[in-house]
């Protein structure tokens, strides 16, 4: 908030509407929500008006389609209209960001402060122990238990046979119990190791490196390049390089949307979650992100808990550096096979990088569920089996459902038989994931 707040108030005295809103003690968060919604509607209307006027003129003027196309191209009308739309979006984008700043920096507000006390090291912080502290506590506890535990007091020459056997039994049982506890602790350690987000993310990356580097993957790429082995090899190398190079970062889920928008975590906690969602919706047409890949920084950001599905999704984006490494042929196939669902999500889901990732997730699923073996051609039978699963609610991941929902049924064969994927029988990769 600028220092000249009070001055601004003075300046705005001339605006009766603003004054009256301010005087009525309107909730600023609700007001901002409404204004952003109006901006989004305004931009959608702006785009639609432009398209409708041009379409009406094209249809009613009575010229041939060729003539209309020629004038359109000479005037650059489509390009200019898209540029204008881009400008409109940039204005709204900037203003939404300013709205965020107001909510974040203008002092005590009514909005949520997510786990504020934890972030500032107040209140709850004592309840959490570091790994080191935890180990120290365990050792302390062991020591205390060994002091307190009941013991058989040996009296020289005074033990009966029964007592001696009882002691032996006790020692045996104690050994067994110790071994059992060790085994449990070992299993727990292994489980934790498997659930470690860093370890599981690296495992996913390694599995994909193995696949993309495989002969079978190369063969599919060759088909994409009409048999050009050199090009296929170059692209294969490039994808391996992207995958190898990509950095991995982790974020708490409550900070994920903010991270995607480039907002530091400490500021993010002061911004209402709905506002972050509105901004992401405005940018992508979806309400939030569970992880993301930034091609400029060559970095994937994943949740700070194990989530192999998200790791697969983001590493797959990284392997083609989003759209940069996708072949023109694949882009064309995806463009022609996209089936609109008539919502804002169309913009996001029809992006070739999103379609390719979802297609590859479906490849994994088909191997996992024994629907299609590696090297097998995609047929009607496979499609029917997929549709059966699709109609059984709750059995497929969101990525896979999105792909089936937005792909023209007649184009499945083309997509699965002609675009390189990450399936590989020999590597047995599904089990490894």
């Amino acid at each position: 908030m600028p220092e000249s707040k009070a001055e601004n108030l003075e300046v705005k005295k001339g605006s009766p509407i603003i004054e009256s809103l301010a005087e009525k003690n309107i909730n600023p968060e609700l007001l901002l929500k409404q204004r952003i919604s109006e901006m989004q509607d305004g931009i959608a209307g702006f785009e639609q008006d432009g398209i409708s006027r041009i379409d009406n003129a094209n249809n009613s003027v009575g010229l041939t389609a060729e003539d209309v196309e020629k004038i359109k191209s000479e005037e650059g009308i489509d390009k200019q209209r898209v540029d204008n739309l881009g400008r409109a979006k940039a204005i709204a984008n900037k203003l939404i960001a300013m709205g965020m700043a107001i909510m974040a920096f203008s002092g005590a507000g009514n909005f949520e402060k997510v786990k504020h006390s934890e972030m500032n090291g107040e209140g709850l912080v004592d309840e959490f122990l570091t790994e080191e502290e935890m180990q120290r506590e365990i050792q302390e506890d062991k020591k205390n238990r060994s002091i307190k535990k009941p013991r058989f007091i040996k009296q020289e020459g005074g033990l009966s046979e029964q007592e001696r056997r009882a002691i032996e039994e006790y020692e045996k049982a104690k050994d067994n119990l110790d071994k059992f506890n060790e085994k449990i602790a070992e299993e727990e350690k292994e489980r934790k190791r498997n659930d470690d987000p860093k370890i599981s993310a690296e495992r996913v990356r390694n599995v994909f490196k193995f696949h993309i580097g495989s002969r079978e993957y190369f063969d599919k790429l060759k088909i994409e390049f009409g048999g050009d082995a050199k090009k296929a090899k170059d692209v294969q190398r490039e994808r391996l390089k992207y995958l190898e190079k990509v950095k991995v970062d982790f974020a708490k889920m409550e900070n994920m949307n903010g991270r995607f928008l480039g907002i530091p975590d400490d500021i993010n906690t002061h911004i209402p979650p709905w506002l972050l969602k509105a901004w992401i919706n405005f940018k992508l047409g979806i309400n939030g992100v569970g992880g993301f890949y930034n091609p400029l920084e060559e970095k994937v950001t994943l949740p700070d808990y194990r989530n192999d599905g998200t790791a697969q999704h983001e590493f797959l984006h990284a392997s083609t550096k989003a759209n940069v490494g996708i072949t023109e042929k694949a882009k064309k196939i995806f463009k022609n096979s996209y089936k609109k669902i008539g919502s804002k999500e169309d913009r996001y889901l029809s992006n070739p990088t999103e379609m390719l990732v979802r297609k590859q997730k479906l490849d994994i699923l088909m191997v996992e569920r024994g629907i299609k073996k590696y090297g097998e051609k995609f047929t009607e039978k496979h499609y029917e089996e997929l549709m059966k699963l699709y109609n059984e609610k709750g059995t497929l991941s969101r990525d896979v459902r999105d792909f089936i929902k937005t792909t023209k049924p007649e184009d499945f064969k083309k997509i699965f038989n002609e675009i390189a994927s990450n399936e590989d029988k020999k590597s047995n990769f599904v089990e490894q994931v």
Binding site: N8, N58, K72, L95
Partner: protein
């Protein structure tokens, strides 16, 4: 600063931003309308040209 004053300042800022958006959008709408008007004019000119050719 009390809550009422704080909210009031936020409302003023939000409305200032919204007004800025409306002003800039109005300019953009004008520019787009002119662009489309020019385009329609070109289409109509072409049509006139076509019709005139028939009378030549």
């Amino acid at each position: 600063m009390d809550k009422y004053q704080n909210n009031k300042e936020k409302v003023v800022e939000i409305e200032r931003i919204y007004k800025e958006y409306l002003d800039q959008m109005n300019e953009l709408k004008k520019a787009q309308n002119k662009l489309i008007d020019d385009y329609i004019y070109k289409l109509e000119e072409k049509k006139k040209e076509e019709i005139m050719k028939k009378f030549d």
